[in-house]
Assembly symmetry: C2
Homo-oligomer: 280 residues x 2
Amino acid sequence: MKLKTISETRSHGGTQGVYSHLSSATGTEMTFAVFVPDHAPDAKLPVVTYLSGLTCTHSNVMEKGEYRAACAEHGIIFVAPDTSPRGDDVPDAAEEYDFGKGAGFYVDATCDPWSKHYRMRSYIESELPALIAAHFPVDPLRQSITGHSMGGHGALTIGLRNPDVFRSVSAFSPIVAPSDVPWGEKALGRYLGKDRAAWREYDAVALIEDGARLPELLVDQGTADNFLEDQLQTRRLIEACATAGIAADIRMQEGYDHSYFFISTFMADHIAWHAGRLNA
Amino acid sequence: MKLKTISETRSHGGTQGVYSHLSSATGTEMTFAVFVPDHAPDAKLPVVTYLSGLTCTHSNVMEKGEYRAACAEHGIIFVAPDTSPRGDDVPDAAEEYDFGKGAGFYVDATCDPWSKHYRMRSYIESELPALIAAHFPVDPLRQSITGHSMGGHGALTIGLRNPDVFRSVSAFSPIVAPSDVPWGEKALGRYLGKDRAAWREYDAVALIEDGARLPELLVDQGTADNFLEDQLQTRRLIEACATAGIAADIRMQEGYDHSYFFISTFMADHIAWHAGRLNA
C-alpha cells in the first residue's frame, strides 16, 4: 500500500497533508487529506473520518471546514477522502453534478458501467482505514465517522452497518432516506439497479427500520437549507430514531444553510463530541 | 453611498455578508465581505479590517481565514476588502500576479495609466470606513487593522500613518520594507514613479525611520515561508521597532509557511489581541 505525498503543511499545531495512492477498491488513483496533530512519539491517536458531499473533493473541508483547531485540542486525526473515483478512464455523467464523478454516494455499484470503479463503500469501509493505519499514528480501535449531505448519508449508513468499528457517528445536513428523494433515487437506481430491496443497506432510515442500531447520534441541520424538504427530510430520521429508541440529538439550527458557513460553525462541536467518545 | 447585497449567510452566530458598491476612490464597483456577530439591537461594535495579499479577493480570508468564531466570541465586526480595482476598464499587467489587478499594494497611484483607478489607499483609509459606518452597526472610534503579506504591508503602513484612527495594528507575514524587495520595487516603481522619496510613506520600515510610531504591534511570521528572505525580511521590522522603541511582539512561528494554513492558525490570537484593545 504505497502512499504518495502531495503536500504537507504545518497548521494549528499539526500537519495538514494531502496524499494519493492507487486504490484496489476503485482501480484508480485516490487522493485524500489527513490532519495529524502534534503528539508524543509513540502515541496512537483516534481518528475521525469526514465524508464530503456532492461535487466535493478532499479539499473543500480541508480549506473551509475549520476542524484543525479542535482536532489539535483533542488529539484527533482527521481524514477527508474524495467523493468518487477520478480519472479519464472512469465513466461519468457529463453535466450532472449529482451523479458520477463527485457523486459516488458511498456505494459499491453493481450496474455497468459504474461497477468497475464506483466502489466507494469498500474504499471507505475497508481500504482507506487499513491504509491510514499503515501510514499514520492511529489507534484503529478508536474510529468515528461524520460527513455532510451525501457524506452525511455515507457516515450514517457506514456507521449503522459497522457499529463495532465506529465508536460514534455524526452528520451535518445528511440525506437520511435516499431511496425516497430525487438525489438518492437517481444515484441508487443507476448504481444499484431497479430492485429497491438492494437500496436499503444504503439508506439510513431503511437500515434503522431493518434493525440496525447505534447507541447515539449527533446531527446538525440548518432550517434555511434549500435542500431540507426535497432531499434531506431530517424529520424522517427523527421519526426512525424515536421508533427505534436511538438517542439521537438532531439539532435544527435556525437560519443556517447547506454551505461550509454552516458546517464550520458546528465542526468544533462535532469534533469535541466524538473526542468525548474516542478518548473515554 | 449605496450598497448592493450579494449574499448574506448565517455562520458562527452571526451574518457573513458579501456586498458591492460603486467606489468614488477607484471609480469601479468594489466588492467586500463583512461578518457581523449577533448583538443587542442598539449595540455599536468595534471593527477589525483585514487586508489580503497578492492575487486575493475578499473571498480568500472569508473562506479560509477562520475568523468568525473568534469575532463572534469577542463581538467584533470583520471587514475584508478586495486587493485592487476590478473590471474591464481597469488597466492590468497581463500574466503578472504581483502587479495590477489583485496587487493594488494599498497605494494611491500617481503614474499613468494606474492613477485613475488604483487608489486603494484612499479606498481603505477613507471611503470604506465611512461606507461601513453608514451601513453596519459599528463604533467608528473603535477600529483596528490587520492583513497578510501585501495586506500586512497595507495594515502596517495604514496603521503607522493613522495612529489616531486604528487602536491596534497587527500583521501576518507582512512585506515590511517594500522599497527594498522585488515585489515592492516593482509595484511602487510603477504605481508611484522612480522618485524613491515618494515610496517612503508606503514602506513600514521607512515610516518608522521617518518618525511614525505605534504603541505596540503584533506580527506572526512562519519560518518555512518561501518569501521570508527575498520579499518579507521580517528582521528589518524587528530592527526598526527596536531602534524606535515600538513594543513589537514579532513571533517567528516554527515550520509555518505563507498560506492560509498558517494565517488561520493564528487568526483567533490576533482577533483576541485586537479585542483586548478595542473592548478595553
